[in-house]
Amino acid sequence: MCEVKVITGTSAAAEAARLADVDVIAAYPITPQTTCVEKLAEFVANGELDAEYVKVESEHSAMSACIGAAATGARTFTATASQGLALMHEVLFIASGMRLPIVMMVANRALSAPINIWNDHQDSISQRDTGWIQIYVEDNQETLDSIIQAYKIAENEDVLLPVMVCLDGFILTHTVEPVVIPKAERVREFLGVYEPKHAYLDPDRPITQGPVGVPDCYMETRKQIEDAMERSKKVIKDVNEEFSEWFKRKYGNGLVEAYNLENAETVLVAMGSVCGTIKYVIDELKKEGKEVGLLRIRTYRPFPKEDVKELLKDAENIAVLDKNISLGFNKGSLGIEMTSILKNKKICNYIVGLGGRDIRIEDIKTIINDVEKAEDDKTAWIGLKE
């Protein structure tokens, strides 16, 4: 019934947008996202996807056009990375502020300078406070599935927020592996048609979108987004369940994924593709009789505070891996946030994989040994040259 193709992460993302029957795509190419927008252009050129493809002149205009299209009631898709995401920064706030369910693929890549096309999470982490839901995926199958889920989440009336699905540049975007591609009709049935009730530009119902948010109303609009973020936790969990009923695949509880946590005193906390390597190491160690756990954070925003608290209540040694760094604080963002949630716990923060530095099996083992030996919280950079 389903088709399985050996494809890259960018192709998986493009397939997802096709399956979701998006109406408008506005995108600008950037490494390592490029093959995604090329694939989409091909789909449109071959009539495999009935969409308007706006070949914008910048990422800023890509997001702006998506906002215009979504505000007119269209289902929209775009994709970007790194500098392009940074260029979008301003309009990201506007997409969420206008409560438009735009879905975007982010091919995670380091920020300049020096210019670097390789993977880390600094680009999307730097968009933390823009009011976007952020999902970090582990493999190409999850890329495809998460983009489909993202529409269901974003368009839910309890949410109405844009979603970025973040996949690691090159590590996933340029790696081929088997991906199950569901039938388009089935995905379309799962998602339904987007019928916005709150906002669409239509001469038969003239509304004003994006007015001046005077001090009497601005704070309320922020609180409404925060409330929607909070509500989205349940929606993300429900969509994950519903998706698994329809397509027989699920990702933890939607917000987090626990791997071998039950008997583990040492737990690694991480996001994205490195979780695969961690799982590999955990499996190896298990054969040697050593129990180590992984808590994979799937949604960075909304942050699954409650799940983290509950799942790590018995952990003794917590190693938080960050592919980003808050310069001037010497911690990664996940490290900072875990410390703010878990009181009286030893939490060591490991800065890894910046700008494409490979995270090897030995690096994971080093981290495990290090956190077990550590007497107190600390930050360490792993894989640095001596």
């Binding site: 509304i207 004003t208 979108q209 409404q224």
Partner: protein
């Protein structure tokens, strides 16, 4: 009543669902001078009508132009553009 009018409940994304509701904001109080239109002199050239930045000059059912003092800000473009001096000004007494 707040500075910006009454905002009881903020709509989602602060969307305004009531087209043209700025008519609630009576800008007539801004005036220093009040234009007075003499319909006997008026030649219906429409200058005052079309140049009014407020759209405060409208045609009544008899085809006469009338100034809506609820909104007229007293810019006096109408007076300046009237070719037959049908519009004069008087100082507002506040």
């Amino acid at each position: 009543m707040g500075k910006w009018g009454v905002i009881v409940m903020v709509t989602i994304a602060a969307i305004i669902y009531e087209p043209g509701n700025s008519i609630r904001n009576k800008t007539g109080s801004w005036r220093t001078f009040r234009p007075i239109l003499d319909n006997n002199k008026c030649v219906k050239c429409e200058n005052c009508y079309i140049f009014c930045p407020e759209g405060a000059i409208q045609e009544d059912e008899n085809g006469n132009f009338k100034i809506d003092y609820d909104y007229c800000k007293g810019c006096l473009i109408c007076m300046n553009e009237c070719p037959v001096n049908a519009i004069t000004k008087v100082r507002e007494e506040k």
